[in-house]
């Protein structure tokens, strides 16, 4: 398997040794609670915690440079559009109005700034965890972990197949795209959108039809090996749970409990410093 695709880098920190199932569970749990909570203190604490974990996994800046820049641009654009569309949204959320500057439509209020700060935190909060997960989890082990979390093994196997075939199909895509361009199908900016859409269809056609053949071949091979006959299957890359795994799962549980109890403390999802 092409392990470089998602940036997996073998290593031997305690984060690398954790089972993939644990990391997946922790990631999903924390990202759900961070998604639901609008408590600034809570999300900021999670950001700090995930940065500390990041340091522990010995990840280098060059491994994540590109993706971090992309995420920053995307978040800034989104924050800007939120402001352009409703500069007073924070006021309606928090119920008070502290004007800083401006008049008419484009006003700047403390509430809006605070709301956008929360939004920015939400955009970045899970990023270090996601990168950590991608870099420290072996893709082959990932499928085994999904099954361990009681996802049907057929679906887990489908995920394994897609991770396995993404590099292959990507390679085929580049080949087809280049040969179709050599035949004169314009895909670049020179052509209008409708032309490019048809050009794309000319690339998609061979890509998809060759993939349909691939589906046929793989499913026959799997059928010959009696895939799906039994109710369970074992995984070569399966990793048993250790003490560290249980500790991480317990830690995630505690974080989720704190997040939920903050809902009760704040009387809702929002932490409101203006009241």
């Amino acid at each position: 398997m092409n392990n470089t695709l998602f940036g997996f880098a073998a290593g031997d920190t305690w984060l690398h040794r954790l089972s993939g199932a644990t990391k997946l569970l922790a990631f999903i749990g924390i990202s759900l609670i961070a998604m639901a909570s609008y408590d600034t203190r809570f999300t900021a604490a999670i950001v700090v915690m995930s940065l500390v974990l990041f340091k522990m996994a010995h990840i280098h800046w060059r491994q994540i440079r590109l993706v971090v820049k992309l995420i920053l641009v995307f978040s800034l654009l989104n924050l800007l559009t939120v402001y352009l569309f409703s500069p007073e949204y924070g006021v309606s959320l928090y119920g008070t109005r502290h004007l800083l500057a401006g008049s008419g439509y484009f006003t700047l209020t403390q509430e809006q700034l605070f709301y956008e700060l929360n939004l920015a935190l939400k955009y970045v909060v899970t990023v270090p965890l996601a990168l950590l997960f991608l870099i420290t989890t072996n893709p082959s082990e990932f499928a085994a972990s999904l099954n361990k979390l009681h996802l049907s093994y057929k679906i887990s196997y489908a995920v394994a197949l897609s991770l396995r075939y993404i590099p292959d199909i990507q390679h085929v895509y580049h080949q087809i795209s280049q040969s179709q361009q050599a035949r004169g199908y314009e895909l670049s900016k020179k052509a209008g959108p409708l032309h490019r859409l048809r050009g794309a269809a000319q690339v998609l056609m061979p890509l998809i039809f060759s993939s349909l053949d691939r589906i046929e071949t793989i499913s026959q091979a799997m059928e010959l090996r009696r895939f799906g006959r039994d109710k369970h299957r074992s995984w070569y890359m399966d990793r048993p749970f250790g003490a560290a795994d249980w500790a991480v799962i317990a830690g995630t549980g505690v974080i989720i409990a704190i997040g939920l109890s903050l809902f009760a403390v704040n009387g809702g999802r929002f932490f409101n410093p203006f009241r």
């Binding site: 489908a158 897609s162 199909i169």
Partner: protein, 186 residues
């Protein structure tokens, strides 16, 4: 494990895997600027329409969901769950019509093209202009006018993609299949 899960055939399992991979690649590499700034026509929705009609609702939902989740996960660090879910939903709902719009018998004429496109347009608008932005407001508390505008723009561009690319693919696929009753006894 119950009996229902066992109905997931080997072919569907493989189709989900390969379909997810294709959606991932299309989302990454093949989107076409529509002429309006910052809005791209995402070709993966054309493929998703075709794929769901071919392999049915479960394959459509799972591939759409996983493909979108993987793309977001590797590009932005965290999946934007509401839209990921909507992609799955669109694939699943279009997939519900796979028996009625059966292409495997080599027949995909004007009637079926019209039927597919009405299903596709209704699903895309329901999904992108209603479900996704509503979930955004509920889950992420984003301002309503921003998300509904984004939703309507994606509804239009995704239905164009599903309409043009999806129809071309379906017609081309039907042409490769042998028609039912094409052999006659002499």
């Amino acid at each position: 494990m119950n009996n229902k899960r066992n109905t997931l055939s080997v072919k569907t399992v493989v189709a989900i895997g390969i379909g997810t991979a294709i959606i991932f690649i299309l989302k990454r590499w093949v989107s076409i600027p529509s002429g309006i700034p910052n809005t791209n026509i995402d070709t993966s929705y054309g493929f998703l329409g075709f794929f769901s009609i071919l392999f049915g609702p479960i394959a459509g939902f799972v591939s759409g969901f996983l493909g979108h989740a993987l793309t977001d996960f590797t590009a932005y660090g965290s999946p934007w769950w509401t839209w990921v879910f909507t992609t799955g939903l669109v694939g699943g709902i279009i997939g519900l019509f796979w028996k009625r719009l059966d292409v495997t018998q080599g027949d995909f004429g004007v009637k079926k093209i019209l039927a597919y496109n009405s299903v596709q347009i209704l699903t895309n608008f329901g999904g992108w202009a209603v479900v996704a932005p509503t979930l955004d407001v509920l889950v992420y508390s984003e301002p309503a006018n921003k998300v509904y505008l984004q939703g309507i723009v994606s509804a239009i561009s995704n239905s164009v993609s599903a309409g043009v690319i999806g129809t071309i693919l379906l017609v081309a696929y039907a042409a490769t299949r042998t028609k039912k009753g094409s052999l006659k006894k002499e």
